[in-house]
């Protein structure tokens, strides 16, 4: 695979990736795959983006999605947020650079980052609803999705959206269906400035290095690659002219990682919880075995009769309802 090449797909084209390439599968395990695909990545060069939204359109078109007609609230973001239909979104930020007083228009194409350590997959309770391929693609399998929203809690980037129509989660697939037949993602194909390029992760890192060198020569001393190590690196990377402060790009997290709360929930709570319930039940079995049932004795019944013999307000017992002796 090379940068932004989209060869024609012949009729006899074979699928180059499939379930045999899963390295992770939510709420279940997968056998060690027999082969390992080369890691792929999409590189988004923010400095080359002109905000045309061709990528957004290409995404809608390839995935056959429609977005509702929205309302203009005075910003370029359209729609205003990612939705179950808008899997990628241009986010526009007007930022004043304190060093030189320049107003900079930062445009970031938001969407799934395809983390190497995906929080969505970790949080997902439905077997096989989220899968990760050995080339790094993290994909949602909607047939297995139950719509619980745990992936939303798990994601460090606030990406998945749950459809109110079919109660299933949606996000960028990295065009896994295109990658499987040797194509690049639709957004990369559509990008007129080649701000979005796609290839192997190594190629993309090398390409980014050239771009960063160029940006530094133009005065962006802090230009750099966004490939956050907190999530094991990502398979969607950014070239940022201000890589020292990612958060200025519409809230791109400075150091994303799976939240410790999610780790606690999906780690110790899950195992300790089951163990605790097991111990409680086992304690009952052991106690019953040791002490036997706590039985009422004949003497207890006699005492009760004696105590209550003269009780005022008592009612006669229907002889049919006498307890068994």
């Amino acid at each position: 695979m090379t940068i932004n090449v989209n060869p024609p797909v012949a009729a006899d084209t074979q699928q180059q990736m499939g379930p045999q390439d899963y390295i992770r599968r939510s709420a279940s395990t997968v056998p060690e795959p027999a082969r390992k695909l080369e890691a792929v990545a999409k590189l988004i060069d923010v400095s080359k983006c002109i905000g045309c939204k061709a990528c957004q359109s290409a995404c809608l078109e390839w995935n056959d999605l429609r977005e509702e007609v929205g309302v203009n609230v005075g910003v370029y973001d359209n729609p205003h947020d990612l939705t179950p239909n808008t899997l990628t979104l241009m986010r526009f930020t007007e930022w004043v650079n304190d060093e030189n007083g320049n107003l900079e228009w930062l445009i970031r194409k938001d969407g799934c980052m395809h983390c190497s350590d995906p929080g969505c997959l970790k949080a997902c309770p439905a077997p096989g609803a989220i899968v990760q391929y050995s080339n790094g693609v993290v994909d949602f399998v909607k047939e297995n999705c139950i719509g619980c929203g745990y992936c939303v809690q798990g994601c460090p980037f606030n990406i998945p959206r749950i459809s109110k129509v079919d109660n299933r989660a949606y996000k960028c697939t990295l065009c896994s269906d295109r990658i499987a037949v040797g194509q690049g993602p639709a957004c990369a194909k559509a990008c007129p400035t080649k701000a979005i390029v796609f290839g192997t992760k190594e190629e993309m890192k090398a390409h980014a290095a050239n771009r960063i060198e160029d940006l530094k020569s133009r005065g962006f001393a802090n230009a750099g690659l966004y490939d956050p190590p907190g999530v094991g690196g990502t398979h969607v990377m950014y070239v940022l002219h201000h890589a020292d402060k990612p958060t200025i790009y519409a809230g791109l997290p400075d150091n994303p990682r799976i939240s410790p709360v999610v780790e606690a929930w999906k780690g110790v709570t899950k195992y300790a919880g089951l163990a605790l319930m097991g111990v409680a039940a086992a304690a009952g079995v052991v106690h019953m075995a040791i002490s036997g049932r706590n039985r009422v004795t004949v003497e207890d019944d006699d005492e009760a009769r004696r105590l209550t013999a003269q009780a005022p307000g008592a009612q006669p017992l229907d002889p049919d309802k006498e307890p068994m002796a």
């Binding site: 139950i146 109110k164 706590n294 009760a304 209550t308 009612q315 307890p323």
Partner: protein
């Protein structure tokens, strides 16, 4: 009372009052002594709560640990399990609220609770004669009652926060992470409390009939809730019982 003291001189006979009785508690004398412990409506209320709690545990555990995901098969799959769980939670919340109103007064702490708790070893050994005389509920039952109350409030609040279908905008994502963690921990706790509750009901022979037919034997009341039986022996029933409240 002096008569009772002769039969059991090891323990002081506690003073009793009508306040030790619930509406519907009633002494029935025949060849054997029988005590009405729970009214029909209290029992219906209890079993709605119980069924809800069991369904919630099954649907919740299915989404709690992958090894239990197969439980979704009992409910027609993951989507339906995800959909029905919060609604059952709503039913449980209101159903338990009914139980709370019915039971909370006699579950308030009493002097003998500390002594009972301090002798938990004798409780577990079944050495009833070493325990203080107990009213309608012992400290263990009170623990279950209050633990259930606190945990159900915790579960409904945290549960609403992560009810994706209707309340996905109620909390921020970091808040929802905390809510779902709290929800799962509270769920583990309430299942453990439930195990204690069910086990105790089986272990103490003669208890189940209180929630099935509403009655216990006099011997059971004498053995486990003697202060309550003494109040019944002294008054037979609460005065404010109307004929309509039968059983």
């Amino acid at each position: 009372m002096s008569e009772a003291a002769i039969h059991d001189s090891r323990r002081p006979v506690p003073p009793v009052s009508k306040k030790d009785l619930d509406r519907g508690d009633r002494l029935l004398l025949g060849r054997e002594v029988v005590v009405n412990r729970y009214t029909r409506w209290a029992r219906i209320n209890h079993w709605i709560t119980a069924i809800s709690l069991i369904l919630l545990a099954l649907t919740g555990l299915a989404l709690f640990h992958p090894s239990l995901y197969w439980l979704t098969g009992l409910f027609g799959g993951g989507q339906f399990t995800r959909m029905i769980h919060p609604w059952i939670g709503v039913v449980l919340f209101f159903s338990f609220a009914g139980l709370f109103v019915r039971f909370f007064r006699l579950n308030l702490p009493a002097r003998e609770d500390a002594q009972w708790t301090a002798r938990i070893g004798d409780v577990l050994k079944g050495n009833e004669e070493k325990l203080p005389e107990i009213g309608k509920y012992n400290a263990g039952q009170k623990f279950v009652f209050w633990a259930m109350s606190i945990l159900i409030v915790t579960l409904i609040i945290s549960g609403l926060g992560v009810w994706e279908e209707y309340f996905s905008d109620l909390l921020t994502i970091p808040q929802r992470r905390v809510a779902v963690l709290v929800h799962s921990m509270a769920a583990v706790a309430i299942i453990c409390v439930w195990i204690v509750h069910v086990y105790a009901a089986f272990w103490v022979q003669g208890t189940l009939s209180a929630m099935t037919r509403g009655k216990v034997t006099g011997g059971w009341a004498w053995r486990h809730h003697r202060k309550w039986l003494r109040a019944l022996a002294a008054y037979g029933q609460r005065d404010d019982v109307t004929p309509g409240d039968k059983r």
